[in-house]
């Protein structure tokens, strides 16, 4: 049995047991039990939709505390491209990078820089032509996880390159070890993340055995602290630190990664429902002439991550403004090093399967159809499952009872009352008044 770690978790005290999150989850991974939401771990892809939709803020992301900065001898900050879009009137990325040094990091390695390297590597791999077309981006961990559980036929299409943050962590750690002479375990790489899926991606990575990212902190947590540091940073002379161009920063919003392909035969979709629609169509080969597909689980791309502070659309505009005068790319490579490639193949995890044996699965599905036909079909969610069909499946899997349906429960009570009424009016023979029938029979 595989162990599952998830960065999306529940604050039991805040959860009201309502149905907002169960209806929203793209993999039907949430049920309400004992008045609290419960996440089916095998199904969760850490997309963060439940965090976004919960009106009681009961869904939380787990991430590391800012104290991680003190837990290593040498600490490297890895700020996400979308992080630069969180600030007001920011004209120069260097202010943010210098402020991170003033905050306590020993070094900053922009994920945007690694993103440019990944873009260059993607161009090389696509030119070699061995990848099945269209190539699907592997950058959004929620999408990769979604494909793994729902779209097995598309696994071969996923770009076998590590995400920019992983590449950033590997390169920066290697270079820092050389520079400082410290052993790698004393060097900490800390990702400043817009999303919970990236937390899971470092604790339980796909495509590699172990992540080089040591800790993940939330943009929303470091942001207020950094803003106060920035005032002092702007007052003293700053080091020129940024090494990322237009392409690198563009990765922070939807279609940014595509722009790095330098080929306009691409498709970019964002928002989990749109992503699912594209993947469904792709599976049916509805479009065959696209070279590259970028998919982001969050609307707007990484700027839409639930750990960010700025409105995604405002952030996108800010990102355009900052990158406007930057050179196209500052990072070029001649060959793709193995350091950037997946070393573990992605495997299909059929979590939605009804049974190991096809014949038994078919019998179970017939049973699901049978139960479904007896339910109201309102998909009200009051039973704790997202739809009537999901309840019927839970019943067949042995996880629920059809009587959990409140309409069925009510009709059971009505039948019971009818029976009681009949019993109430029934007079047993010893008390039954004579009707005259008995005498007639005797005669």
């Amino acid at each position: 049995m595989q162990e599952f770690f998830h960065s999306v978790t529940l604050d039991r005290d805040k959860c009201m047991g309502c149905i907002n999150c169960i209806k929203r989850c793209p993999t039907e991974a949430i049920r309400v039990r004992n008045k609290k939401a419960y996440i089916i771990k095998e199904r969760c892809i850490d997309c963060g939709e439940c965090i976004r939709v919960c009106p009681h803020h009961a869904k939380r992301a787990i991430y590391d505390s800012l104290d991680v900065v003190n837990q290593f001898e040498y600490v490297i900050a890895l700020p996400a491209p979308s992080f630069m879009a969180q600030f007001n009137n920011l004209e120069d990325v260097d202010i943010v990078l210098n402020a991170l040094l003033d905050f306590g990091f020993h070094e900053v390695y922009e994920v945007a820089k690694a993103a440019e390297i990944v873009s260059a590597a993607t161009r090389i791999l696509m030119k070699e032509g061995n990848l099945p077309r269209p190539v699907i981006s592997s950058a959004c961990p929620a999408v990769t996880r979604l494909i793994r559980v729902r779209f097995p036929g598309l696994i071969d299409h996923i770009l076998p390159l590590l995400a920019p943050v992983e590449v950033a962590a590997r390169i920066s750690k290697r270079e820092a070890a050389k520079k400082t002479g410290l052993p790698p375990e004393k060097i900490g790489t800390v990702f400043i993340s817009p999303c919970p899926a990236k937390v899971t991606a470092t604790k339980m990575p796909l495509g590699t055995e172990k992540s080089a990212v040591d800790a993940v902190i939330a943009v929303s947590e470091i942001y207020p602290k950094l803003v106060s540091v920035m005032k002092d940073t702007a007052a003293h002379p700053m080091q020129p630190l940024t090494e990322a161009g237009k392409i690198g920063l563009s990765w922070g919003s939807s279609s940014g990664e595509c722009s790095g392909i330098l080929n306009d035969n691409y498709l970019a979709a964002d928002g989990i429902e749109n992503v699912i629609r594209v993947l469904e169509d792709l599976e049916d080969e509805k479009f065959r002439d696209v070279d590259f597909i970028e998919l982001n689980a969050c609307s707007g791309g990484c700027v839409g991550g639930v750990l960010n502070v700025e409105n995604p659309y405002v952030a996108k505009t800010k990102l355009y403004r900052i990158r406007k005068h930057l050179p196209v790319s500052l990072n070029h490579i001649d060959a793709v090093s193995s350091e950037m490639m997946w070393d573990t193949p992605l495997e299909y995890v059929p979590v939605l399967k009804l049974d190991e044996d096809v014949w038994t699965a078919m019998e179970k599905m017939a049973k699901v159809d049978e139960i479904c036909a007896t339910l109201e079909g309102l998909d009200c969610g009051s039973c704790g499952a997202p739809s009537c069909r999901a309840l019927a499946e839970d019943v067949v899997r042995g996880l629920a009872s059809a009587d959990d349906c409140i309409f069925r429960y009510k009709s059971n009570i009505t039948h019971l009352l009818d029976d009681l009424h009949k019993l109430e009016n029934y007079i047993p023979a010893p008390f039954r008044p004579e009707t005259g029938e008995e005498e007639k029979k005797e005669e």
Partner: protein
């Protein structure tokens, strides 16, 4: 139990709904643990068939029957029929109207793709009466 049966009515007037049957069958096959390759074959063949029914025959009816060995699909319509099946099977041959072509369909790959992705295919057609396409994909 003999097998699972699914029936779909294909609405000939609504292009945006074409593909509902194939996507529903795909969802079921995934839950039944059918291999990705078989799912791919079935969903592509079925989708092409659905589109054909919408473009050429104003809709129709799809019956899918599954056993652990195979998946049988019967696509029946009461459209104008195919006068020359051999010609219709040729790649690139199309009688689709311009407004359908402008949507990106009508490339003359429908029937050839159905043949390519199914393990067995048979067409019965009578001009003026309708067309029935029988397709089978083997699971093992």
């Amino acid at each position: 139990m003999n097998g699972l049966k699914w029936t779909y009515e294909v609405d000939g007037s609504d292009f945006t709904r074409a593909g509902e049957a194939s996507s529903n069958v795909k969802k079921n096959l995934r839950k039944l643990g059918v291999s990705p390759e078989v799912i791919r074959k079935v969903s592509i063949a079925l989708y092409e068939g659905e589109i054909n029914m919408v473009i050429h025959a104003n809709g129709g009816k799809i019956d899918v029957e599954m056993t652990p060995e195979k998946i049988d699909m019967v696509l029946a319509d009461t459209g104008k029929g195919i006068p020359d099946i051999e010609q219709a099977m040729q790649e690139g041959w199309s009688t689709a109207p311009d407004e359908v072509r402008s949507l990106g369909f009508g490339a003359g790959m429908g029937l050839p793709n159905m043949k390519k992705y199914s393990d067995e295919m048979r067409i019965e057609s009578t001009v003026g009466v309708g067309t029935t396409v029988y397709m089978t994909v083997y699971i093992k």
